[in-house]
């Protein structure tokens, strides 16, 4: 059993509850153990950074300091220095704070001075902050995931939506690419889903603009939904509660604003994993989404012949040969270099 | 050489050292009889009874040869070194302690106060009241003294002039025998003593010269302790196998005794001819075989040498540039 420290993030307790439920449902078949960081606080999302620099990073760093205290083995359990954040914004904030405290030591000194007021301290670099999907793809491995699948998602056309804060800015070089990462595609494919080529996979959902400039956000949501629809996706899969919230909860608003009629359900990738692992929709929090996924999910469970994985170029090419596709392997290698 | 018809006089003294040098002399077996046959042994506390005052009473320069082993750690060592220097024509700095400090010299890494404290207050010492011996004590017969410690241990040649150096911990018996033969020949006028400052009883190159192991171009990714390698290749250079062997920088003369039997050289014969600082030579030897170009990777490899200072200065600390502020070997 592999142990990780879990930073759930605020959404997990409310709007992203389904994410939490579905994560709980997949840890066991994948032999994972998540230990929640005691008394963690909000990471400040994108809001605090825009007001005050040092308080914002101190807020984030309190979580890192608390997590660092929990790295050691307790009562015979394994020790770990890896913090898992399933929310992209939380992941980015935690990872970025750790990185900037190293890149600009003066920031690290001030943050630690603030932490000292609460009898805490954090040495940048102590922890390894990673996102849930990073753990699943690179630690657990697609092989293990594939072997846990009992109900392959054959016939379900999924648009893999990574969002922006996960693959970028990626100071730690964790992803195969900043623009077209393949981690989510590979994982969904391992579940048996028909993964569509979705060029907007790392485009923005609008973030907090749904709150402060809805028109801007609606346009961004429209682009995502329209392109997924254009490519015949039945469902979008996401890795971030904020993305899920924006695309799901604001889709009707957006439709009204543009006079469109899209119906593009969006589920957490962990919910799809749970389904593939044979869990019941209810325990995975399926049904709490506002754009319901009933029709889309009707495709699973129905006997559908095995579809070929779309490895060949999207459009059949005659004439001139195409260059070899950029592989994930090369991507990571280059990135690390 | 003044011999004056009678047998020339011989002395040997043991200052701050373990006594191994004395055993090494006895290890020459019957050769020791040649010493007796050719010399009049006037002072050798470990072998015969003689009083300091007897030596003090001798005429200056009346002893032909003194083998002085041990470093100078206290005022008694210092007194005897100066005394024997005055009385002797040839003063040989005998063994690693006298030449370069040796193991006792490692104490120079600690302030002398700490050393005293440690000696009387270790966890194995039952000394709850922190009682220290007194420096002097009145008894009916008069005042008794124990020697005062110096702040650092110094090699002999920082205290008195030395004519020859004979390195080794201890000097190999076959080398001692050869030196005895040489001195006898000198006494008989059949040979010349090497010039002042020379190293005798040792070679000019390094241990590798005598080491039977095969050597190639070296490049290592890891330093390991010898016990962590299984099995150690019996025919291949130890350094090439990642074992920090001091042989490349250590003066030859011992017939590569340690590496020949599978233990790395620890450097008791000190630096080769003309070398100013022994540790520097080992630093550059070890770093030269590392196969890495990034600080992280190099550091990882260097972590394989847990005590680098002890590794490169085990025998030479008191004789090093920084710890005694002098050239390791006063040669040339």
């Amino acid at each position: 059993m592999k142990k990780y420290l879990l930073y759930p993030g605020c959404s997990m307790e409310s709007s992203g509850r389904a994410y939490r439920d579905s994560i709980n449902a997949i840890v066991e078949p994948l032999d994972l153990h998540f230990e929640e960081i005691d008394d963690w606080n909000c990471c400040g999302a994108t809001e605090y950074l825009g007001i005050n620099l040092i308080p914002a990073y101190s807020l984030i760093a309190r979580n890192l300091a608390l997590a660092a205290k929990q790295t050691h083995p307790v009562n015979g359990t394994e020790g770990t220095r890896t913090v898992v954040a399933p929310c992209s914004a939380c992941y980015l904030n935690l990872a970025k704070a750790d990185y900037y405290m190293q890149e600009r030591p003066s920031l690290g000194v001030k943050v630690n001075e603030a932490l000292a007021a609460g009898d805490l301290q954090y040495t940048a670099g102590t922890l390894d902050v990673r996102h849930l999907i990073d753990i699943l793809v690179y630690d657990v491995g697609l092989e293990k995931i594939r072997s846990a699948v009992v109900r392959p998602l054959h016939g379900l056309k999924v648009a893999p939506y990574m969002g922006c804060m996960l693959p970028r800015p990626d100071y730690q070089h964790r992803w195969s690419d900043h623009e077209h990462p393949t981690e989510l595609d590979d994982l969904l494919r391992a579940l048996g889903a028909d993964v569509i080529d979705y060029p907007l996979t790392t485009s923005c959902c609008g973030g907090h603009m749904t709150q402060i400039g809805p028109e801007t956000a609606f346009e961004l949501i429209r682009r995502l939904v329209a392109d997924a629809d254009e490519r015949d996706a039945q469902l979008m899969a996401t890795v971030c509660p904020m993305c899920q919230m924006n695309v799901d909860a604001y889709q009707n608003e957006m439709n009204r604003f543009f006079g469109t009629d899209y119906h593009m359900p969006i589920l957490f990738f962990t919910q799809l994993m749970g389904l593939a692992f044979g869990r019941e929709p209810k325990e995975l929090g399926i049904g709490v989404e506002l754009v319901n996924s009933r029709n889309a999910l009707a495709h699973i469970g129905v006997e559908v012949p095995v579809t070929q994985e779309p490895t060949a170029p999207r459009k059949k090419v005659e004439g001139l040969p195409m260059p070899r596709r950029w592989t994930k392997h090369e991507g990571r290698k280059e990135a690390v270099k | 050489m003044t011999v004056n018809g009678s047998k020339p006089k011989f002395a040997m003294y043991w200052a701050a050292s373990c006594g191994g040098c004395e055993i090494a002399v006895l290890n020459t077996h019957e050769k020791i009889l040649d010493v007796d046959a050719n010399f009049d042994v006037v002072f050798w506390p470990v072998a015969m009874d003689a009083k300091y005052k007897d030596v003090e009473a001798m005429e200056d320069g009346s002893i032909l040869l003194t083998l002085f082993n041990g470093g100078i750690r206290n005022d008694e060592n210092e007194h005897l070194a100066k005394l024997l220097r005055r009385k002797s024509q040839i003063m040989v700095s005998f063994g690693s302690c006298a030449c370069e400090g040796c193991i006792p010299g490692l104490a120079n890494l600690s302030p002398v106060g700490d050393i005293v404290h440690a000696a009387y207050n270790t966890i194995t010492t039952d000394n709850p009241n922190e009682i220290y011996p007194r420096i002097s004590y009145d008894v009916p017969e008069g005042e008794l003294h124990i020697p005062k410690l110096a702040k650092v241990l110094r090699p002999l040649d920082l205290v008195v002039d030395v004519d020859c150096y004979m390195p080794g911990c201890p000097p190999e018996s076959h080398q001692i025998a050869a030196v005895i033969d040489l001195v006898i020949k000198v006494v008989k006028g059949e040979a010349e003593l090497p010039p002042k400052g020379s190293v005798i009883g040792a070679g000019d190159s390094t241990v590798c010269d005598e080491c039977p192991r095969a050597r190639n171009v070296k490049s290592i990714k890891e330093f390991k302790r010898i016990q962590d390698i299984a099995p150690v290749d019996p025919d291949l250079c130890l350094l090439e196998q990642g074992i920090p062997c001091n042989g490349p920088a250590t003066r030859s003369g011992c017939n590569a005794r340690c590496p020949a039997v599978g233990a790395q050289c620890i450097g008791c014969y000190g630096p080769a001819e003309g070398v100013m600082d022994y540790g520097a030579r080992l630093i550059t030897a070890f770093s030269s075989v590392i196969d890495a170009n990034t600080t992280e990777e190099i550091d990882r490899i260097l972590d394989g040498i847990p005590d680098p200072t002890g590794q490169v200065y085990r025998f030479n600390l008191a004789g090093s540039l920084l710890k005694a502020n002098r050239d390791a070997w006063k040669v040339k």
Binding site: H178, E179, A226, G319 | R215, K218, R281
Partner: protein, 663 residues
Amino acid sequence: MTEKVGVYVCHCGSNIAGTVDVEDVAHWAAEKLGHQGVIIAREYKFMCSSLGQELIEKDIKELGLTRVVVAACSPHLHEKTFRIAAKNAGLNPYLVELASIREQVSWVHSDKVVATAKAKAVVSGAVSRAIQNAPLEELKVPINSNTLVVGGGIAGIQSALEIANAGFHVYLVEREPSIGGHMAQFDKTFPTLDCSACILTPRMVEAGTHPNITLLTWSEVTNVAGYVGNFHVTIKKKARFINEELCTGCGICQEKCPKKVIDDVYEAGLGYRKAVYTPFAQAVPNFPVMDKDNCTYFEKGTCKACEKFCPTGAIDFNQQDELLHIDVGNIVLATGYDLFDARRVSNYGYGRLPNVFTSLEFERLSNAAGPTNGNIVLRDGKTAPKSVGIIHCVGSRDRNFNNYCSVICCMQGLKFAHLVHERTGATVYNFYIDMRTAYKAYDEFYQRVLEEGTLFVRGKVAEVTDAARYSNEKGKLIIQTEDTLAGKQRRIPVDMVILSSGLQPRHDAKEVGKLFGISCSMDGWFTEKHPKLDPVATMTEGIYIVGCAQGPKDIPSSVAQGAAASARVLDKILQKEVALEPIKATVNKEMCSGCRICNGLCPFNAIGFLADDNVSEINPALCQGCGTCVAACPAGAISGTGFSNEQIIAQIDGLLMRNLEPA
């Protein structure tokens, strides 16, 4: 006291005297360093002037000076001057020591007291060092008049021809089956739009038939030993599986070969060749090679179609790689460049979006001898584009990829714009950060392309996508960028995108550099001896670099460098011998114990091991004098002239003023 030292302190006008009390320094040296052997200390306005030099020469002769210390400017400026003066006066030039009290003292400090004190320390260090200096003699070695040119692109061809025409023999080695290099892939060359093949082919033929050129294609240099004037080079002549004696170059074998292979090299992956092939029709030499990895016979043991049809029986499946050993005096490296791999810029979609092309692909697309016979079409092989976007600076001027400017991409982009415009009439956009059209007739070409109606957008393209946002974008590639001059984001739908990819050092440049004993810059290009004054020579005597191996450049510059290097080679050949700096390391065999620690340290392979004597040995002609082995020898058995331990230790003591008391 055995040495007689003269100390000469220069005012350098007010350059030194303005900040350093030179009189004080001279008096001090005479007084405090007298016991060291200083018998005369003078100051003078300009020591480097002829009068200043005469002063020194006179003292050497009249006072019998054995060492001279000149406290003046940096040794890089006038060390040679004073050494020659000493030589004229009969003193070995290496007994002169310079103390830099201008660059290191007067120019960088302002407090006169502090500066004067430092100047004294510097002089003191120099005096102590000078006393330890030893007379040295330069080493003269003869020059072999043969030359090796590595790389048969235009730069290498030019270089080889210049030397061969002067009457000396050249070995021209090329890794590919034919010489010609990248230039042979191009259709037109900017800015004159000459047909590339028309101007290159005659040069290739000339090189292929020149009596003074031994052409070795399909060959690679595997080992280089020796030193300037006397290199011993091993060349691997890879098996062609074609008997060159018998082959007439008729081409029947390739016609009959049933195996089609994507041609990644010459056709840039855009076309096919056979398993037995000549890369292109005008190849020099015109013998085909067999691609063992793709040949059906080598794979499965049957086929041999080529052998059956060859009219002269030239196919030889048993041919083996051959090792040639040649001796040359000089080596010219013209190893060229690799194209930046555009797949790395994933936001430009190359490799994912079919109609995104690289510059080299487009060169082949537009080449009349290329896979489409010069028709500019989309990847479906038939549709002509109605609109084309050309993106500059792909992989260049970008810290995510290569920091440097690739030099040729602007002009290349303009050339593409012209060709597209001329052949298809499509609307052409050029997206650039800065237009760099320096050099003769280049900007005129820019004007011409402007005139033709090419649309220029100043902005580094953010992304190329097929995710249509509006109806006019459906089915197109959309180029999204900020038009920085309009200050607005634009989305421009086009049919075809051409990436003006940058140039990169060859993927194996580091290894090649190591093989020849030269270094690479941070970016990976070979490092020249001096970026301005010696751009074709390298730090290793006798090795020259030309063309893109030295850095990105266009054809005219490559040709110029090829010729320039030849001039340097001919100069060496005609001198017949070369003097080597006498700063060398030597092994004292008595003290060497054969530990072999030094053996792996020399990048110039100057250190050999004599197994019989169990000692290492340094070849003085190969030794470049870096001193690494001297510092490394654990036995202290290696000593280095010019920078000996004694000299440096003495200088340390001198700089720390530990030499002011008699020892």
